[in-house]
């Protein structure tokens, strides 16, 4: 056997796989170079409302005059198209890339939802039907890279990434995009939420070394539009204190937020003075202050 090491062997026989991978990375980095700030909305836990936070934060940033994009990184449970009222968009291709959906408030959106035919269609891939775990993760990471790299985002002030639940997904998204300027964690304050969100916060902080802007509490309170009172819902221990995070906002649940999301309408525009919109605006304020101070990106 020759005493060679892998790195001593020049080339790979003619496939130039490394060059192909580098070309993929160049394409991605070139596309994202026109994005001012990439902000991931994460939780680790499902059902805490991070997609709702993402969609409404995007709307508020757009209302404030920022150019905003949303990349739906939840390939298997895409929700951004519905929440932002652009379901049914069929992406076309221009010279500059794939044309994203454009919401009424000017948000550019890319989501797997646009490629699924019917509401009940799950994301399915062609390939061997058995042992899909061998390749499915790779394929989905590559798909996410393509969605980010091939979409004609144009110049963006902020690109929001709606992350899927699961701390492993956080790693996959950050590894794939190679760039994540900041992360916001979303939690509901319950003991269970603290337990699960804490894992993603630890991963983001210690392993990925991604700067965390802070945590957004969601649905700890319920706002009753009839009585205009805030009632406790998932009120519990201080999750921000527990995870040593800045508490960015405490967003009360408002049933009108749900109906707006279901119908793809803009809650912040329709109910700008509701406590929920005020709290969402507080998140935007802190993000924009950081951007203005050039503390991020």
């Amino acid at each position: 056997m020759p005493e060679l090491k892998y790195k001593d062997i020049v080339g790979d026989g003619g496939s130039h796989v490394l060059d192909q991978v580098e070309a993929q990375q160049d394409r991605l980095s070139q596309r994202l170079s026109r994005v001012g700030c990439i902000l991931g909305i994460m939780s680790g836990k499902g059902g805490v409302g991070k997609s709702t936070v993402t969609a409404n934060l995007a709307r508020i940033l757009a209302i404030r005059g920022k150019s905003v994009g949303v990349l739906d990184a939840d390939l298997n449970g895409p929700s951004m198209a519905k929440l932002l009222g652009v379901r049914g968009h069929k992406p076309d291709v221009s010279e500059k890339g794939v044309v994203p959906a454009l919401s009424k408030d000017g948000i550019r959106i890319m989501s797997m939802d646009f490629f699924l035919d019917a509401d009940e269609d799950p994301l399915q891939w062609q390939g061997p039907t058995s042992d899909q775990h061998v390749w499915r993760g790779l394929l989905e990471a590559n798909t996410l890279r393509e969605l980010a790299a091939d979409t004609d985002w144009g110049e963006l002030d902020v690109l929001l990434i709606d992350l899927p639940p699961g701390s492993d997904r956080l790693t996959m998204v950050c590894d794939t995009l190679k760039r994540m300027d900041h992360l916001i964690a979303v939690g509901i304050g319950s003991d269970l939420s603290q337990l699960i969100v804490g894992k993603s916060v630890t991963l983001a902080r210690r392993v990925l070394e991604q700067p965390l802007l802070g945590i957004v509490y969601n649905m700890r309170h319920y706002f009753d539009p009839a009585t205009k009172r805030l009632m406790p819902l998932f009120l519990s221990e201080d999750e921000a204190k527990l995870h040593q995070l800045t508490m960015l906002a405490d967003i009360p649940f408002d049933p009108r937020l749900l109906s707006c999301g279901d119908q793809g309408r803009s809650f912040p525009e329709e109910y700008p003075h509701s406590p929920t919109s005020v709290a969402l605006n507080a998140v935007a304020d802190q993000l924009l202050n950081k951007l203005a101070a050039k503390e991020i990106s």
Binding site: F114, W135, E146
Partner: protein, 99 residues
């Protein structure tokens, strides 16, 4: 993955890539540039799919990938689009029939 001729210690060169078989297997012939000794490597369906999932082409990529090529070529429901019959994929008009 790299291959070296055990006799010449020369990196083996890709000689010929076989077509993708119906069962998902794939073959690639490598040959030593010095002594011309060769061998054929077969990948099983999962191995073939794993490489395809990376968005790279064995044998090299002569042209840049088309936009969203992975989605167009791998997503369930895009087969009819590749034949130009106007299937589920929104890129059916862009597909090269030879793809």
């Amino acid at each position: 993955m790299k291959f070296v001729c055990s006799e010449c210690t020369e990196p083996m060169k890709l000689d010929k890539a076989g077509g993708l078989e119906e069962d998902g297997t794939f073959s690639v012939r490598f040959a030593c540039p010095s002594c011309d000794w060769g061998f054929v490597m077969w990948t099983n369906p999962q191995e073939t799919q794993m490489v395809r999932s990376l968005g790279v082409k064995i044998g090299g990529n002569t042209v840049p990938s088309a936009p969203l090529e992975t989605i167009r070529t791998h997503m369930h429901g895009s087969t009819s689009a590749t034949t130009g019959s106007g299937g589920k994929c929104p890129f059916s008009g862009l597909m090269d029939p030879q793809d």
